[in-house]
Each structure stands twice: as structure tokens, then as C-alpha cells.
Amino acid sequence: MANAAAMSAGATPSSKKGGAHSHPAPPKIVAAAPPRELERYPLVLNNRPLNWITERIAGVCEKPMPIWWWPAFIVSFGGMMLMAGLVTYLIATGVGVWGLNQPAAWAWDITNFVFWIGIGHAGTLISAVLCLLRQKWRTAINRAAEAMTLFAVACAGIFPVVHTGRVWMALWWLPPIPNNMAIWPQFRSPLLWDVFAVSTYGTVSLLFWYTGLVPDLATLRDRATCKIKRLLYGFFSLGWTGSNRNWSNYEKAYLILAGLSTPLVLSVHSIVSFDFAVSQVPGWHTTIFPPYFVAGAIFSGFGMVLTLMLPMRALFHLEDIITVKHVELMCKVILATGSMVGYAYGMEFFIAWYGGSPYELYAFKNRAFGPYWWAYWSMITCNVISPHLFWSKKIRTNMVLVWIIAGFVNVGMWFERFVIIVTSIHRDYLPSSWGYFTPTWVDVFTFVGSFGLFMTLFLLFIRYLPAIAISEVKAVTPQADPHHPLGGAKEHHH
């Protein structure tokens, strides 16, 4: 079943050899194993057979959930209900139940929005960009990361909608619906760009995720033990038979979606950053924002992938599929993007001084030494210092430490958005308007509740769907490579 993984022209060395002699021998297909020093690390450890992979991954969602799943689900579900209740209270009563004021007309609402949308960037990066770059290690993590993306986008989408004063009008007027008054949305507003960017991103991510799921849903359908499961998995697997034509169409669709998603990885957070960069507020009006936000989004996204994936890996015994090498590679992405983010922090300060605007300079001084200094230095500690611990291989391969540092990355990136938003607007041009923002408990628990929503969706995902792309992992095993000594479907049937 290995899905057409014959991608390299493996026959060339032998044909070359053959060409050197006068009477050409038929080229040999079987290649010798590469020299040891050139051998790549295996993506699935212990030379697991294909059947083992299916059993292990499908087993997670076929067997009853372990005991811990239930308390985790109940707590998460409670969080989700808490958020639902608080959002209802907000919409019924007014935005004033949050701590917002003049001048800080945005605070936790938009911080949470940018935080979640940033987290949603890792999935698409892993699935789309790494797919186009032929990074085979992505296969072990892409499914869960994409799911995480979708759930993060769902959380992100809620905040900018409910933060408006009149949600019932917002949902009606933000889409460009032709109307008898001939009033269109304001196409110059970055908030409207957000509407398009986030909804496009959500849609494409969903399609991408679902397309990748189809072969695995068929696997689950074929293994289903009861009629309901068979019908539901059967319905969503769209009549997949595993024929060559199916695979050919699938590969094409997947590649097209990867191509469509790749620019979105860059565009969505660029557009989110325009919410700030396009404004006049000192501290927001910065051309560095688009690349800085994209790097930060990938940084935070990988932080969240690690936060979720490491416990999942341990609890479901997936160590042979999500290997230490995978975790190390993700740590390196965090290191790279974390360094970019750190560079951006430094560059912002340099430009604030070099740019010559005293207002800009003040905004940055105020960030570091003003009333919100604690937020700024929390951000610096988490985002600038902690990723550099990943220079050490010892730390990269210590799963507990990686998990803790990934947690710091998540915290730091939330603070980054808070710092950018609140410290800039709480003291802008006219000192008479300067103020201070304090959250209320409604602010805090709405955010806490959004984690409940996120975790509820994620727990349901691992309960009902294969959390790792079964067919794709198989495709990167030696068995799937016809040129590998173990290649071909010789020893193991599917």
C-alpha cells in the first residue's frame, strides 16, 4: 500500500556503471545500503513493521480511553462551559465586564486572539511548508499539529468576534454582503483583512487536515468493529478504496493544498500584525512587524505542539514514531524562530532610537521600564533566554526539560502580545490620556476557558481520530522504499 514513495531516481548509479562497459548488463534495481556515515536516522525506531504502525496508531482511538482521559476531559469541558458562560455574560451585559478602558480599548481580548492564531501557525507550517520541502520527519507530527491549528483558530476566532460592542451587528456587517444601502465594509481596515485572512486560513487548514485524514479514515472504517463506527468513518472516508487512482488524486490534492497553505503561513500573521503596524500608535507603527509576527507565530506554535505532543507521546507509548529526533528537530525550529524573535526585540529598540521619533522612543522605554515592566521582562525571559537552552543537545533530548521550556515559550508569547498591545496604547501621544489597564476576573477566566475549549477539542480528536497520519508514517519507513534493502511489501502485509 506504500503510497508511491518512489521519488528518487534510484537507478542512476547502476546504469552509469553499466554504461562504462562495452556490453551493457541490465541495470540492477537493488541498491546496496548506503555507507553507515551517510545513513539517515530512522524515522520510525526499532524497524517496526507496517502492521505495527497501524495497530499502534489506530489502537489509540479504537481501544477505550485510558483512565486519565476522563478527568482531563471533564476539566476541559468545564473550562469550555465556563468560557461559554462568560461570553454570554459579556454579550448580554456589555464589554465593560472586562477591564478595558480609555486609552486601553484593547487588551486581553486581542492578546488572546493573537496568541491563539499564532499557535495555529505550527500545524500549517509542518504540514504545508515541510511537505513542500520534503522534510519527511513531519509525518509523525503533522496530523496532531494540524488539528491543533484548527482548534487554535477556533479559539482565536472567538475573541475578535465577542470583543466587539455589538456582536449581533458585527457578524452581519463584516462580511461583504451586497445591500440596498450600497454600504460595503471598509476595505482599508486591517480588521477586515483579518476577517478574510483568518477565515481563509481556517477553511484551508480544515480542508488540508481533512484531505490528509481520508486514507486513515478508510483504515478505521475497514477496522471498525461496530456498525455506527463503520458508517461514520465510511461516510467521511468518501468511498476510499486505496486504488491507484485514489492515491494519485489524493497526492495531487494534497500537494495543491500544501501549495495553497504555504503562502497562508506567511500571510495570516502578517495581516494580524497589520492590525498594529498600520496604525499610528507609537510601538505599533513598525514595519518589522510582519516578519517578526510570523517568526513569533511559528515559535509559539512549535511550543504548543511540544506541549501537547510530549505527553501524548508518553501516554500512548508512541516513542517509536515520535522519536527523540523529532523532538530535537522541533527544538531547533524553536531555537531558530526564538532567535529571530529576540533579534526583532532588539531591532525594535534600535529603530526606536535611530528613527528619531521621541514618541516611539518613549513607547519603548516605557515598555521596559514603565508600569508594565514586569510583563516586558517576563516576555524577555521566556522568549529570548529560554529558547537558547536548546543549543544544548542534552536539553533537547531531555523530554521533561523540553516540555517545561515549551511551556515557557507559550507563556512568553502570550506576554509578547500583551506587551505589544497594552504597553503601547496605555501611554500614547497625549500624556493627559495615559492610563492603566487591569483585567477583571471575567477577562482572566474567559482566557482560561479558551484553554478548556482547545483541550476539549483536542481530547475528542485523539479519542475519535488517528492522531498520527498512519499512511504517511508508513510512507517514510524503509519498507515503503523499494530501493531499500527492506523495501517493498516483501515481509509484512498491511
Binding site: 464589554v95 475578535p160 454600504i183 465594509p185 471598509q186 492590525d275 499610528q280 500614547d428 489597564f437
Partner: protein, 526 residues
């Protein structure tokens, strides 16, 4: 309405000077001259309570350290702390009348002691220093004579030579100035503008009250003010400037301040930053230079407010009209305490459904919409008066076609209320309009003009004339000294010719260009 100087709302306070506060042993915070802890970690003012005793009678109230108050004096405002006044006056302030005797309002021999109790005080302005920003521009008479248009030579206005320009010399922006991009949208009949003379404004705040009454601006209660949600469309910004020879961190910095005030309202920018960020076109420009709000269209993203450099936009965080916003319920701990009828939402009472509303609504101006929660609002230049004037002129014009509103015909509510005549408003297309003359005054300047927002509200710089024979004579107002010191600039010299202080690192780019075009130039913004 906030007190014109202290900016305290809803109650009276016991004012003492910074020096007296030190002598009383109030723990003062350096630089800010407010009692330590007065501004707690969450931005709220929780004041130490003082007990003032005169001839055996004592009253208690929250202290307010007031720079500029005479040392050794305790100031108490009368008329607060009423007990039989109904909802509005209940719980606001303390009654200082018990101290009063037939000897008159000046008492001596007061004994002051600290009470451990703290009280929340709601103020509308938290920061009182300009930080070297030339928001209010002022000079002494001699300096003014030397260079009458000095005010145009301040802030970054003179540093725009490196900015890309259009062929006509205006600054090149991503979006062209709307009236240039679409000239047909600009009326050639009426164009409105306002000039505020800082030389005559005393900061009395009558304009704030007039505006509130005219425009149905909701009263929000002390709790909301202390959270920074006052709704005034017009405010009086009050700035202190301390002696520049004393470091700001010194405890004596605020002992002898100068003070300036500035009415601040929607500047009706031609290139309005609020308009381009609204996702639903709820704030747009009309053809007569007004930045107008379509309340019905507003969804309340508040982006306009964030992008307003003047922070003059006000958001209805609650249904301030519909819900009962009792005033005495100022909560003390803002994180947890979301008590009070505003927070009950639909479970609270609906004032529109009560009989009393029939009376309350008579208070409202029928020509102005009452806004619901979730929408943004701000100064309209009293658009209802403008419209009435236009209708009146049209009725009068009949077939003559002369429908231009005479320059000084429309008076805004704030302008009418101003006892000093500091506010001028009118139709600049009428040569007779007083705003025309004032815009040509050399003192005319634009606040934050370098942003190229092209406000329709401009200010006339304030000129001081201190007597050289007096011991506290100063050669230059302190705010100007601050500006010169912090920015390293001298507005009385042309830029680019090497000022006395040279150009600091911050301004190197402006050198060698002569003086750039001024955005606040005379009449240039129309």
C-alpha cells in the same frame, strides 16, 4: 464633571500642597508627588484619609496632594456629602460645612491627622506632566515678539523634510488625502473648523458641562470613572510643569509648578486615522470637513479609539442610559468586584421601562441620538446645530441659491458656554468667519501636526507676560524650557542652521534643509 484642577470626580477631597504633605508625614512617591500607594498597582487612586479638626469640630476626607496650592493650607470644597438629595448626590464626598462658622470661609488653626482608612478617588486624568511634548505651546511675550510663529516650529513638524512628498508639496501617504483623492466629495459651500485660544482659556470646564448637556452624554458613575471610562466628548487637559532645574525625581520637584490647560476634543482630522481602521465604515468624513459617527453602523471594535492620537473617542462599555448606574457603588477592588447595577446586564432594571424615564428623557436633547451600549461616540462639532443652520439658511435663500452658512452663524455648545471666548467655530469658506482670521494668527498651531492628520481644530499658542521685577520671574515658560531641554531644540531658531544645542541624535535627519512646510500652516489645512 471633574474638578478643573484636581480632575477628581464625584466628591471633594482634602487638598494639601506637596510640601505640606511631606510635613504631615504622608509617604510621597518620588516624581509623581502623590502619596505612595495612592496609585495602587491596578491604577486606582486609593487615598489616605485625613481628619481635619478646627475648633473641636472635625471632618474626614481623602487627601489630594495638589501641586501649586499654598503651603500650610488645607483646602476643602463645600457642597458635598449631602444626605437628603436623592440618588445623584448620595455618597458623594463629605460634608465640610460643620467646620464653617459665621467668621467666613477662611479658617485658621486646623489640626490635621491621618486616619488609617483609605478611600477610592475617581479622577479623569492620571498623568499631569507633558514629558517635554509640545502639546500645549507657550512662550513669554519677549520670545513671542522675536518669532511670533514659534509654535509652528515645534515638535516634529519641522523635521519632515525627509518625508516623501507629492508634487504639490503635501506629504505622501499610503492613502491620499480624501478631499484630494475625490475632490467632488468636498463641499464648496461650507467647511467647518475650530480654533481654540489657549491664551484666554482658563480651564473652567464650562464647555465640558455644556457639551454634556447638549449631546446627551451619559453620566457613568464614580466606579466607571475610576476605571477610566468617562464619556465626556470634551475634556480639559491640565498639565503641570515643574522647575526644570530640579530633577523630576526630587521630592521638592512639584513644590512650585506652573500649570497650563488645554481643551481637547475630536480634532476632525481631514486624514482621519480613525476612519481608515474602522472595518464597517461607521466613522466617515462628510463633505464639510466633519468626521461623523454612524452610530447605527458601529459594531464597537474600538480600533478607531486606539488609532486616535488625541484619545478623544469614547466607548459605551455599558448601556449607560438604559441601566441604573448608581453612583455610590464605586467598588474598591477592581479585579474581583464587578458589583453594581451596570454589571447585572439584562437582569438589572431597565430604566426605559420605568415611569420615571418619561421625566428623565425630557433632560435629553431631542436633536441628538441617545447611544446604546457597544458603540463609539465623540465630538460631532454639534452637527445638529450645523444642520439647523443649514436648513435655516436654505429657507431664507429661497431662489437666490445663496445657501452658504454665514461664517459665524453656528455656535457650538462649548463655544457658547465659554466665558472667555476661547473657542471660535465657523465656516471657513466665508471670509467673514472669525476662524479665518484666527487661523492666520501666527500663534496658530496643530497638536501632533507631524502625523499629517490635518486636524480642523487648531490652537493658538499661549503667551505669558511675567513681570521681570517679581522674584518668581522666568525668562521662558517652564513647559517650553522642558521641551527645549528634552528635545534639544529651540523653536525660536530655524531648523537646519545649527541651534544652540545642536540637533540631538534623534533629529539628525532634519539638518541642512531649511525649514520644512508646516502642517499647521495658516489656513493650509482646509
Amino acid at each position: 464633571m471633574p474638578d478643573p484642577i484636581t480632575k477628581v470626580t464625584w466628591e471633594n477631597v482634602v487638598t494639601v500642597s506637596p510640601k505640606t504633605a511631606r510635613e504631615l508625614g504622608l509617604p510621597l512617591e518620588k516624581g509623581t508627588q502623590i502619596p505612595q500607594d495612592q496609585k495602587a498597582h491596578d491604577g486606582q487612586y486609593r487615598q489616605i484619609t485625613l481628619r481635619v479638626t478646627v475648633s473641636g469640630v472635625s471632618v474626614e476626607g481623602p487627601v489630594w496632594v495638589q501641586p501649586g496650592l499654598a503651603d500650610g493650607v488645607v483646602g476643602l470644597a463645600l457642597g458635598y456629602g449631602r444626605t437628603a438629595v436623592g440618588r445623584v448626590g448620595k455618597g458623594s464626598g463629605f460634608n465640610a460645612y460643620p467646620l464653617l462658622t459665621s467668621k467666613g470661609p477662611l479658617l485658621s488653626g486646623a489640626k490635621v491627622e491621618m486616619v488609617t482608612k483609605r478611600a477610592l478617588v475617581a479622577v479623569t486624568q492620571e498623568h499631569g506632566l507633558m514629558e517635554g511634548r509640545p502639546v500645549v505651546r507657550e512662550a513669554n511675550l519677549d520670545e513671542y515678539k522675536k518669532k511670533p510663529d514659534f509654535a509652528k516650529n515645534m515638535d516634529l513638524d519641522g523635521h519632515l523634510s525627509y518625508v516623501p512628498r507629492n508634487p504639490d508639496g503635501s506629504i505622501k501617504n499610503i492613502y491620499q488625502s480624501p478631499y484630494k483623492a475625490n475632490p467632488w466629495t468636498k463641499s464648496d459651500i461650507n467647511q467647518w473648523a475650530m480654533v481654540v485660544d489657549l491664551g484666554t482659556c482658563t480651564g473652567c470646564s464650562a464647555c465640558v458641562v455644556a457639551c454634556q448637556a447638549e449631546n446627551n452624554i451619559p453620566i457613568v458613575g464614580k466606579g466607571q470613572v475610576s476605571r477610566g471610562r468617562e464619556m465626556h466628548w470634551m475634556r480639559i487637559d491640565r498639565y503641570y510643569s515643574y522647575d526644570p532645574n530640579i530633577p523630576a525625581s526630587s521630592e521638592v520637584a512639584a513644590d512650585d509648578p506652573q500649570m497650563v490647560v488645554q481643551p481637547m476634543l475630536c480634532q476632525h482630522c481631514e486624514n482621519a486615522p480613525c476612519e481608515s481602521v474602522c472595518p464597517v465604515n461607521a466613522t466617515v468624513h462628510d463633505n464639510e470637513g466633519l468626521n461623523v459617527m454612524a452610530y447605527n453602523r458601529c459594531i464597537g471594535t474600538r480600533y478607531c479609539s486606539n488609532n486616535c492620537p488625541y484619545k478623544v473617542r469614547r466607548f459605551n462599555f455599558f448601556d449607560y442610559n438604559k441601566r441604573d448606574n448608581s453612583f455610590a457603588d464605586a467598588d474598591d477592588h477592581h479585579f474581583m468586584d464587578l458589583t453594581g447595577p451596570l454589571y447585572h446586564g439584562p437582569l438589572g432594571k431597565n430604566r426605559y421601562a420605568e415611569k420615571e424615564w418619561e421625566i428623565v428623557k425630557l433632560v435629553k436633547n431631542p436633536d441628538v441620538s441617545v447611544r446604546m451600549r457597544g458603540v463609539m461616540e465623540k465630538c460631532t462639532f454639534c452637527v445638529q446645530r450645523i444642520e439647523q443652520a443649514k436648513i435655516a439658511v436654505k429657507v431664507q435663500a429661497r431662489d437666490s441659491g445663496n445657501v452658504r452658512v454665514p461664517g459665524n452663524m453656528v455656535k457650538t455648545a462649548c463655544q457658547e458656554a465659554c466665558p472667555a471666548g476661547a473657542i471660535s467655530f465657523g465656516n471657513v469658506l466665508d471670509p467673514e468667519a472669525s476662524v479665518n482670521a484666527l487661523q492666520n494668527d501666527p500663534r496658530n498651531y496643530t497638536v501632533l501636526g507631524f502625523l499629517d492628520n490635518k486636524p480642523r481644530v487648531t490652537y493658538l499658542a499661549r503667551i505669558r507676560n511675567p513681570n521681570p521685577a517679581m522674584p518668581d520671574y522666568y525668562a521662558s515658560p517652564r513647559s517650553l524650557q522642558d521641551y527645549e531641554r528634552i528635545r534639544g531644540e529651540n523653536p525660536f531658531e530655524e531648523h537646519g542652521h545649527g541651534g544652540a544645542h545642536g540637533h540631538g541624535d534623534d533629529h539628525g535627519k532634519a539638518g541642512g534643509s531649511g525649514h520644512a512646510a508646516m502642517t499647521g500652516g495658516k489656513g493650509g489645512q482646509i
